[in-house]
Symmetry: C2
Subunit: 451 residues, 2 copies
């Protein structure tokens, strides 16, 4: 039904003339609308299931707006602010963002910029009325508007200002123009600036309160989980890669399951801009959960950058998995033992690091895995040095050699990631985990690995 | 001067007590401000030099704002719109964006959303006055505001809507709330909605006109150049890599120059979100230069994605350049000839593709380079098959094997990029280049390559 379109109708056995076609199109319209409606509902269901907090956020925005529109219904408040109460409604719509950090950032930017620009505009208005006279006043004001708009617009291009104060600079231009220009018609400039500031403060504080006190979405916590989740994805790939490349059957998973779990790392490759945006917004958030106000968010960017470095290597490993030229089984089997060890230990190390980061503890449990993976890397190097390769042709060896070389790089990468995570943990004063006894399965595997 | 800070003052030979410290801090203040001011000027100079269009844009915003504030000074216009003329000023500030695409997108979104939401709000106002009565009216309006705000906020999360209509949805909520809520106090709802729509239309059209007719910044052209430039960066790297890895002296360039030109590709790795944003905005732009209104912008995303795939391989090649374990010179020299050929031909192919794309012609001149690089890849494979590797240990061979394997992948990647560029050229109806005679240097090199 939903697939009915102009093409179908035009090519169908339409009963002559344009009129007939229009009629048929109109007949198909309800079916098409029905199809579109169903599609939109499916989309809505998917968005809501992916992140139920988005549904809650929608209700929160509705609530904040309804709260602020009370100003309009409640006579004493309306009498105080009059039409200016509209600014409060406008502010709520613009400031309400999904996360606390974004809402706070916009709200604070808006309030600060409004007060600064309001003061400046009142000054500009006084200067122009004092010096300008009847004719000169609009010319002077127009000149001020031009200069301030041009300078502040240019300042919006400065990277440091753009990252944190872009919205504030926009509101600065806005308020300056509104107050100074309306001063020409309205002599109560000071009163207007004051009213605008009060309504904007009310309009900013309402969504901020709603955002913080009703099911808050902390973008700092999201960044924390994103960085940890990315490490986990890489860990999943590396662990799975060992099984997949050497055709080792994993217990329950089917091959297609493994393949799909191996592709999770792809999102890590392009996570840079998302992480940077999140870190910028997280700086606005007050302390929450285990995160203090001055939580070292920039350290997450370090960890994220190293994780991406590792993801680039993993992208190359993934190519080796799917390339046409595959090394023969006997060549693979020669490097199988140290390579699978590297894969499983590096994968485990990453997953331990991710788990410790999620729990906000110092990730000492990852250290043994890193040591074992380094030991396996040394054994791989030794194996490659030994003369067991005389009877093979190099073209067949190259894929395995490339895998071996990439795995050696991955080991170095994982070590760097671990260092960055440790640094983050120490700067953020994460608590030390209670020393646990190594579990049996790990111990037995270590025994095999070290032989 | 600029480096004076609290630390310096506190550690210096301060003359006792907190008063002395405050005095010293105040003394240092002018110097500090001077330093900050100088720093800001340097930053401004850098931003302006990097892209002088940013300076022009700032003046354009100033001009648009001054033009619109004329409304306020010109009595007949003011009498028509009254305080509502403020909406025009507000719209100019919010709609003025750097590129034509972004300005048009925001302007059209704002106008469409205002008219739709205005009509809906007038309807909601009528329903609530008809059915609600004295007590029920504010309750009904509050209910409508809540429902519309919640539903539209949720719709902003739909990826397809977010990409193109996010701003429109925001303005929809805004206008609906403003018009329906002020309807409670102001009986002239229809008049208000009409005035708001007219002022917003004026406020949107002014920056759109200024943006299009004074030094327009076409984001479509920027995307076109970005994608071409990214290919060129990869071409530069691959060409330079051959010289750098096999320690071949390039004519004039010093080693540090080469190293810095080799790092240009890094920005390609994280270009995904930038390219997607640009493609979304470019769709709003009318025909300009060689670009038609329905230029196939999504094809640029294909080319961009393949370029990034190639950049990941190049990142791995770059690691090979800087790794500690380097293959001995005699091993490198065995694969030097085909590898340098692959590098130079693939690099040239990418640069030809980039140049043709920049000129908006079909890139037939890249085809021979791709053929030569494929021929060189075949020779490399043959060389690797032959038994010239018996006397080497594999650990020393691995770095070279990895380089060879990556170069083989790069050849495949470049071929895919060429296909995508050809597809883009045919869909976008780029003109065919006049067939040129191959230049002398290329021909002589081909002769060497084919021997």
């Amino acid at each position: 039904m939903a697939s009915a379109n102009f093409g179908d109708i035009e090519n169908g056995s339409s009963g002559g003339g344009p009129c007939g076609r229009v009629l048929q199109w109109l007949k198909a319209l309800p079916a098409k609308s029905w199809g579109k409606g169903l599609e939109a509902l499916r989309e809505a269901k998917k968005v809501g299931e992916d992140d139920p907090r988005k549904i809650v956020h929608s209700f929160k925005v509705g609530l904040a707006l309804t709260l602020v529109s009370l100003f309009y219904y409640y006579r004493p408040l309306y009498d105080g602010f009059g039409v200016n109460a509209m600014w409060a409604v406008l502010t709520v719509v613009v400031v309400s963002e999904f996360s606390v950090g974004a809402t706070l950032g916009k709200g604070i930017n808006r309030m600060l910029a409004t007060s600064l620009a309001g003061a400046l505009a009142v000054g500009a208005h006084h200067i122009s009325t004092l010096w300008g006279g009847e004719v000169g006043e609009p010319i002077l004001i127009a000149f001020f508007v031009f200069v301030v708009a041009a300078i502040v617009t240019f300042m919006r291009f400065f990277p440091a200002l753009k990252a944190r104060y872009d919205y504030g600079l926009l509101v600065f231009i806005l308020t300056f123009c509104l107050v100074s220009v309306s001063g020409y018609r309205d002599t109560q400039v000071l009163d207007m600036a004051h009213k605008r500031l009060s309504t904007i403060a009310i309009g900013s504080c309402t969504p901020i309160m709603v955002c913080i006190f009703i099911c808050p979405v902390w973008i700092g916590a999201d960044l924390h989980n994103l960085v940890a989740g990315n490490m986990e994805k890489l860990g999943d790939f590396i662990e799975g890669f060992g099984f997949e490349y050497f055709h080792i059957k994993e217990s329950e998973l089917s091959s297609s399951d493994t393949q799909s779990s191996l592709q999770g790392y792809k999102s890590v490759l392009s996570s840079k801009s998302l992480e940077e945006t999140m870190a910028n917004l997280a700086r606005w958030e007050p302390g929450h959960g285990g995160f203090k106000f001055c939580h070292p968010w920039e350290k997450y960017l370090n960890v994220g950058a190293l994780t991406r470095q590792c993801a680039y290597k993993i992208e190359a490993l993934n190519t080796c998995l799917n390339t046409e030229i595959q090394a023969p089984a006997e060549i693979r089997s020669k490097i199988q033992e140290p390579c699978t060890n590297i894969c499983s230990e590096s994968g485990k190390a990453l997953k331990e690091l991710a788990a410790a980061l999620k729990k906000m503890t110092r990730a000492s449990s990852a250290n043994p895995h890193i040591e074992y993976s380094k030991a396996a890397a040394e054994r791989l190097k030794l194996l490659l040095k030994r003369g067991i390769w005389d009877d093979v042709n190099l073209l067949e060896t190259i894929p395995s050699a490339a895998v071996a070389s990439l795995l050696l790089e991955v080991v170095a990468c994982v070590e760097k990631i671990a260092e960055a995570v440790h640094e983050l943990a120490s700067v953020a004063h994460f608590k030390t985990e209670q020393p646990q006894l190594l579990q049996e399965p790990i111990l037995s595997q270590v025994a095999i690995t070290c032989n």
